[in-house]
């Protein structure tokens, strides 16, 4: 199961989704909005995506994880829109007969999602600037720092 949603992620529903009588292990990963990054305070994050490609990519990730590991359940949800501090932006839940596979698959899914899913975040800083995050594209000249709006 994969989903892109602008609603808070329902972790209980995800755990329910991957539960199985054949599962001995469940691993749930949540990516949460961290307040401090390299000493600067974030006040909120905005996520956007290219829906057609992001949905296809998440479905591919689920299929690939199910091929690589003997999973009894797999669910990937990414949230979109405005997130406050400590909210979950992404959740990966997997279950498998034994725990090693659940840890490996959960780790691989979040690592690969972050590399490949067509999703972007904009960080809003406490000084009222905001910045799209584009790894490798952060120099002052081409980076995305936006000064605060003038009153």
């Amino acid at each position: 199961m994969i989903a892109l949603t602008d609603q808070p992620i329902d972790t209980a529903a995800l755990l329910e989704q991957v539960a199985s009588p054949s599962a001995g292990a469940v691993v749930l990963f949540l990516g949460t909005t961290r307040e401090m990054t390299a000493g600067r305070r974030t006040t909120s994050l905005d996520y956007e995506c290219y829906p057609q490609m992001a949905e296809k990519k998440l479905a591919e990730l689920e299929a690939e994880a199910r091929r690589r590991w003997p999973l009894t359940g797999c669910a990937i949800v990414h949230r979109l829109g405005r997130l406050e501090i400590a909210e979950a932006s992404v959740a990966v839940a997997v279950s498998s007969p034994h725990r090693q596979e659940a840890f490996e698959a959960g780790k691989w899914l979040i690592d690969t999602l972050k590399e490949r899913a067509q999703i972007w975040k904009k960080q809003k800083w406490a000084d009222a600037t905001s910045q799209w995050v584009h790894p490798g594209l952060d120099s002052a000249n081409i980076g995305g720092v936006v000064p605060p709006a003038q009153p």
């Binding site: 290219y50 490609m53 067509q118 972007w120 799209w132 594209l137 000249n141």
Partner: protein
Amino acid sequence: MSGESMTVRLELFALARQRAGRGSLEMALPRGATVGHLRSNLAARVPELAGMLPHCMFAIDTQYAGDEAVIPAGALVACIPPVSGG
């Protein structure tokens, strides 16, 4: 490449969308134009994007496509900056 032209719709996201001031553009390109042609035309038409385009990938109808790929008439092209989900 013939003298006829075609219209291609280009989707922009994140910083590219912000720089361009809009989420999509209609681009008139010669028939047979490639992603490389679109990339050059876009940098000329929206100079604010020129600095970041070398870091972006492009997709034709939701499939990644290299600079040599020919864009079919009526295709939906997307500019995909480095991703930061998760």
